[in-house]
Symmetry: C2
Subunit: 356 residues, 2 copies
């Protein structure tokens, strides 16, 4: 069962850094009811890898990636708001991306997909709103890559949202984050199975994707959380060889499980495009009053999008005349805290939406 | 020109976790003059990848990896001390390791090398002292892996050194550090050129080694240093393609240069053995009075061997009745600060050695 809906993009859709797409579309899911005045919409952008399935619904009862945050009576309250989550342009869960067929050839775009920018992803979300007849969102929300996207949204579409929530995002990728993402991409590029992007659907560059995902997982969490969660526990002796070079500690088993789930769900070329878009993103000064008010959330243990960057985002919004609240979460879960430390994030986001 | 000397290990040399080596040796270099009472020796253990060439000498005038720390009138003053730096057992710069010929077959050990432990590396250093007729070192010093080795040394050979200097070391690898090292090893293991360890000398698993070294380099430094040093500077436009997925930012060029230097100098199997030994290291309670006094140095920006672990090392020494000084360096260079922030490290180490 799928709750996936589609919005057609303008045809042609001219990309931010050049090139264009024909017949492109954005996949999205929605919850709640749009008010007659169409003034209760929340637009949600995701991180690099999730689909638009943020929560279950009648049409798709499987739990979503923000299941405990979004629903009736939850922080993002679907009894009050009409919530629209979009799958990023360039991704592989229904929106047009490198794995989608190029209508000119009938073959997947692969590396012929034009250069993707965070600005294109923001515009994809804006086009979904337009397709629903919504001129102005109540709030745009995004975490991680999504936290970049909401800034690109505010820069490109001033006035198109009243509120903005940026969670563990970035206004310009740091060289540290670039180095890590570049290494993740290189792991894919160097996998012989990548074949310059021409891998078959059932023969993806599994090794490269596994290494990339494991490195991602390491940087999404924190050393302190893992010390508590895994310590130096070993996997059961029957499941490991004394002379093996991996697979001895429980933390290694955890990484393996994360990688296994990722390999067969995410497209390698889409990963390359989205990851590079994050590196290149650098928002300039925001238009004055681009949004009415903003909430910027960062996490003290986030090594990938550290608290200093969140302070920078808040300062950027303040300089544009946007009343901004900065919340520094003491969560131990690092960059991924928004997916795990639901009590803290619910409180902050719920309060912001309640008074918006 | 080489300043390399060799000490034969006891034959057979029984390894800490079982197995034995025949005809094994440790490569070392030395500076200064051993006093008639043989009481001025400093024993220096290295990190994972350096050789024993810590500084230049008449026999080898090329600069060493701690060139500005070790020499006449420097913090580790070779006019006062007889300094011995050892190449770790299991490494590939003269000491016996997986790349060395197995005397039983004449072929390199490769994966038939017995499991290597940090304790074996410590004993290798002790055997060098014995071969020189030195019963007791003035001070043992080690950074990173070397910081683990000095703890293993104190645990195994109580009374064999008066002083101990542990720099950015660990008493038990954290799951975060294990995860990173496991991923580095996996990058090598998954490289088809690794061939289960049976690669030819001139055809090493270059891709795996490059990925491992790049990841190492990322974790050896700090996000703050790179923000200052590289920012978001691009490499020259002529040297990059707009549609490439790597090589756009200067930080990526820096990583590439680091990897290139490493690939053809370090043996992949040695890397696997040394890296796994670090994961498995976990020193228990130290013998009472195992050393006379200790200096533990940590760096605030070190994400790999963080300050909390340095506090743990100091506590371990204190519990063994060892008067211990803990120094927390504010250096921005992360784990590698001991190689870069020479003024701060010179001051702390020089003072400790002066009053030892």
């Amino acid at each position: 069962m799928s709750a996936r809906q589609y919005a057609a993009l303008p045809d042609p859709f001219v990309m931010h850094r050049g090139g264009m797409l024909r017949g492109a579309r954005i996949a999205y899911e929605s919850w709640g009811t749009l008010s007659p005045a169409k003034d209760n919409a929340i637009l949600l952008f995701t991180g690099l890898s999730p689909s638009a399935h943020a929560a279950h619904s009648a049409a798709d009862p499987s739990p979503g990636w923000w299941e405990t945050m979004l629903g009736p009576g939850l922080a993002i309250d679907t009894q009050r708001h009409f919530v629209v989550a979009v799958n990023s342009l360039g991704s592989c869960f229904g929106s047009t991306g490198p794995a989608s067929p190029d209508p000119a050839t009938g073959e997947p775009y692969r590396l012929s997909f034009p250069v993707l920018s965070v600005e294109d992803i923001a515009r994809g979300g804006m086009e979904v709103l337009r397709s629903l007849g919504i001129a102005r969102a109540r709030t745009v929300i995004g975490a991680s890559l999504g936290g970049m996207v909401v800034l690109a949204f505010a820069a490109q579409f001033p006035g198109a949202s009243h509120g903005l929530v940026s969670i563990s995002g970035s206004a310009a990728s740091s060289p540290f984050a670039i180095a890590l993402r570049s290494l993740q991409r290189e792991a894919i590029l160097r996998d012989p199975a990548w074949r310059e992007g021409r891998y078959a659907r059932d023969a993806p560059p599994r090794t490269g994707l596994a290494l990339a995902r494991k490195l991602g997982t390491i940087t999404y969490r924190s050393a302190g959380e893992w010390a508590q969660r895994f310590g130096r526990e070993r996997v059961a002796a029957r499941d490991r060889a004394d002379d093996a070079f991996t697979g001895e500690f429980q933390v290694e088993g955890y990484l393996e499980a994360q990688a296994t789930r990722f390999i067969d769900s995410f497209d390698a070329n889409c990963y390359l495009y989205l990851s590079r878009a994050m590196d290149r993103f650098e928002v300039g000064a925001l238009p004055r009053g681009c949004v009415g008010r903003a909430l910027v959330i960062g996490v003290e243990t986030d090594i990938l999008f550290p608290l200093d960057e969140q302070r920078g985002i808040a300062a950027l919004l303040e300089r544009a005349g946007v009343g901004t609240q900065l919340v520094a979460m003491p969560s131990i879960e690092g960059h991924d805290a928004f997916l795990v430390d639901i009590p803290r994030f619910s409180a902050a986001i719920g309060e912001f939406l309640h008074i918006s």
